[in-house]
């Protein structure tokens, strides 16, 4: 891949912004547009930009690692859904509570966010795997 100075510089600046944007989307997602899926896609775009600039690097380690990421995300989402059944509630029942933190005030903690985190991880792992598979030169 030809090195493009403009692209490389632009990516170096935009990548942190993209990651931050993903975090914002993820956190807003509970009560406003956003959520794990979109945040995952934004993160994956950031990774894709890195791929465009730097190429594949050490390709051998790229693909399987991200599949482990997918497995971890799936596992997390599944566990979030299973835990309520152990407490006698129907599958997928979510629960939430509020805690008070110094400085930040009352913060809502919801088990649905854990599920969303699972979704986020799956999306990142999945999209990156797909991009690797489609862009690598065979």
């Amino acid at each position: 891949m030809n090195d493009s100075l403009i692209l490389a510089t632009a990516v170096r600046i935009t990548r942190p912004v993209l990651f931050l944007f993903a975090v914002v989307l993820f956190l807003k997602g509970h009560n406003a547009p956003g959520g794990g899926f979109i945040a995952g896609l934004v993160t994956a775009v950031a990774v894709l930009l890195g791929l465009l600039v730097h190429g594949h690097g050490n390709r051998k380690t790229g693909r399987p690692t991200f599949l482990y990421v997918v497995a971890a995300g799936l596992g997390l989402a599944l566990l979030t859904a299973i835990v309520p059944t152990l407490l006698g509630w129907p599958f997928f029942t979510h629960s939430f509570g509020f805690i008070n933190l110094p400085l930040l005030g009352s913060i809502e903690l919801a088990s649905a966010a854990l599920f969303d985190l699972g979704v986020y991880i799956v999306v990142v792992g999945n999209v990156v795997t797909v991009l690797h598979a489609l862009t690598e030169r065979r």
Binding site: N31, F37, V130, A133, R138
Partner: protein, 113 residues
């Protein structure tokens, strides 16, 4: 409003079907993409197309939109994304092994009857 959306749906699906009938693998993939976008719009229309706020408790507004079709569309988009990625991979691998992405050209080449 409904008529406009339905016209767009019809255009999308028509173009999608036209491309599906093409012999080139890549156009088939694009056709399926158009088709599924048309279908997603149809899903959107199924919930009614009035103006309204997001249906969230405490953000009181008299008119709210039906959130269910949007959830359905999101699911359908995700599935469509996965399927399209798979299709592209298959088309690419098939092109690499046969050096052609023309179905007419491929036809009969691999039939071992």
């Amino acid at each position: 409003m409904h008529l406009a959306v339905l016209t767009v749906v019809a255009v999308f699906i028509t173009c999608g079907v036209y491309l599906l009938l093409d012999r080139t693998l890549l156009r088939v993939v694009i056709g399926l993409g158009l088709l599924s976008n048309g279908v997603n719009l149809a899903l959107l229309a199924s919930g009614g197309l009035g103006p309204g706020a997001a249906p969230i408790l405490g953000h009181g507004s008299a008119a709210i939109v039906d959130p269910l079709p949007q959830a359905l569309i999101l699911t359908a988009i995700v599935i469509g994304f996965g399927v399209t990625a798979l299709l592209l991979t298959l088309a690419f691998a098939s092109y690499q092994s046969q050096l052609s992405d023309d179905l007419e050209d491929l036809h009969g080449r691999l039939d071992d009857e």
